[in-house]
Symmetry: C2
Subunit: 262 residues, 2 copies
């Protein structure tokens, strides 16, 4: 039975996350419904990881095992016909049998978008976090440097009590603060991310940006491994899953299933 | 009684336009409710012009006559506290008695945003018009040149049967097609715009961009003064009111009340 890798974009505003136990439509459900509508009932869509309600994806990945072969372009067009306007398959490719979107992922990229203005903005409010105060981006860069590398990120994991099969040590490959015309982006790549890790890192970085804390405070928070020491969790609206990283041959990495959740 | 000029941003997705007879909340109503909430009941908010449901404003203008003086910054903050997330006052200034947001307007700027991609986009879908085919931007520029200047724009007015006090002759100061990373913008400035004029111009320009029509076809459409000759009306989602133009001394222009509607 052929396996396909789907790249999916979605607007997180309406749906209740990728997959959740709560009531409300999820992205995964919408994708499975679209498959059912094109005569592929009961097909499971396995995502590379979950995203919370309100979090967007520019390129989430998922795999499906289908009972019969499909032309990738036809599968894409057919699914998009049945998906709601805020979810769209961006690409489809056939992958070797045994490929798993989550277990083969080598890492992920996220971007967190902040819009800076003294006066409250009104347009597309679900697509960014509004930052109303001046921020010192250089101080935030100095602070972010303490996050790059292999660390125990327990201080940036929400629900630290939940059972984490793989513990809380991850590798952050890079963390950039990029000035934009209307604010700034926080762009990260890592081997995997703990639940709410990016949003919690942003919340702490903003404390530094506002001048409430020094850049070195972030190292203290990190080393304390205690979520209560950090800044608040930044809102979901600013977060975008930008890319899921796979090896060229799509083989599982040394840390299979790198993500627990974001 | 002091008069204030309000500059207002709004996301057109939820509200039913600036002011309409239909059921549903309007921007004007929301602003008047916010004033009532700060102990200014019964104050009329007079806009520089209407916008349809789905049309956004980066800087709509309106005036209010208040029973007592207010510090402009305090009025802004107080109104924004009571306005919904998709409407926000951006600036407030006191203006001479007798100023009228509509009758003093000398012109307006609009931008129409198109996102170009073969595959359907999913994020922020209410903020742009999705163009799925290749467009020839140079051909569209040549076509747009036929719109600049003083013309009878009846061919680009929806509901041509409605009574227009000022007829259908307007001056278009400029019309630019600007390539963006994700598509293109159509930016216009004019003395005033007829109902749906910008969206109808975009619909016809896209016919040229797709190669269905030559650039000179737009001149034929214009000179025919017949709405049925032009392309379809482009969706409201792409349209943004960018600026309302006033004289430095805020005096009425030679064409007071330049807009009928957009």
């Amino acid at each position: 039975m052929p396996t396909y890798l789907l790249t999916i974009a979605y607007d997180g505003a309406r749906c209740h996350g990728w997959q959740l136990q709560h009531n409300g439509i999820t992205i995964q459900e919408e994708l499975e419904r679209a498959l059912a509508a094109i005569d592929l009932p009961g097909v499971r869509v396995e995502g590379a990881g979950r995203t919370d309600a309100g979090v967007h994806a520019i390129a989430q990945c998922a795999h499906v095992v289908l009972p019969r072969p499909f032309e990738p372009e036809r599968l894409l067009m057919a699914m998009n016909t049945h998906l709601p306007p805020d979810i769209a398959v961006q690409a489809v490719r056939e992958v070797p049998a045994g490929f798993h979107a989550r277990f083969c992922a080598r890492g992920k990229r996220y971007v967190y978008r902040c819009r800076c203005s003294r006066v409250r903005p009104a347009i597309g409010r679900h697509l960014y976090h509004w930052v109303r105060r001046e921020v010192d981006l250089d101080a935030m860069r100095a602070a972010a440097a303490h996050l790059v590398g292999r660390h125990d990120f327990a201080a940036f994991a929400s629900n630290p009590g939940r059972k984490l099969v793989r513990g809380t040590v991850r590798t952050l490959h890079h963390a950039h603060l990029i000035r934009r015309a209307e604010g700034f982006d926080f762009a990260v790549q890592g081997s995997g991310f703990l639940y709410n890790q990016v949003r919690n890192m942003v919340g702490s970085l903003l404390e530094v940006g506002y001048g409430n804390r020094s850049p070195d405070w972030l190292r203290e928070v990190r080393d304390a491994r205690d979520r209560r020491r950090g800044g608040p969790t930044a809102p979901a609206a600013g977060l975008y899953l930008l890319r899921v990283l796979y090896a060229p041959d799509l083989s599982p990495g040394p840390e299979p299933g790198a993500d627990d959740d974001v």
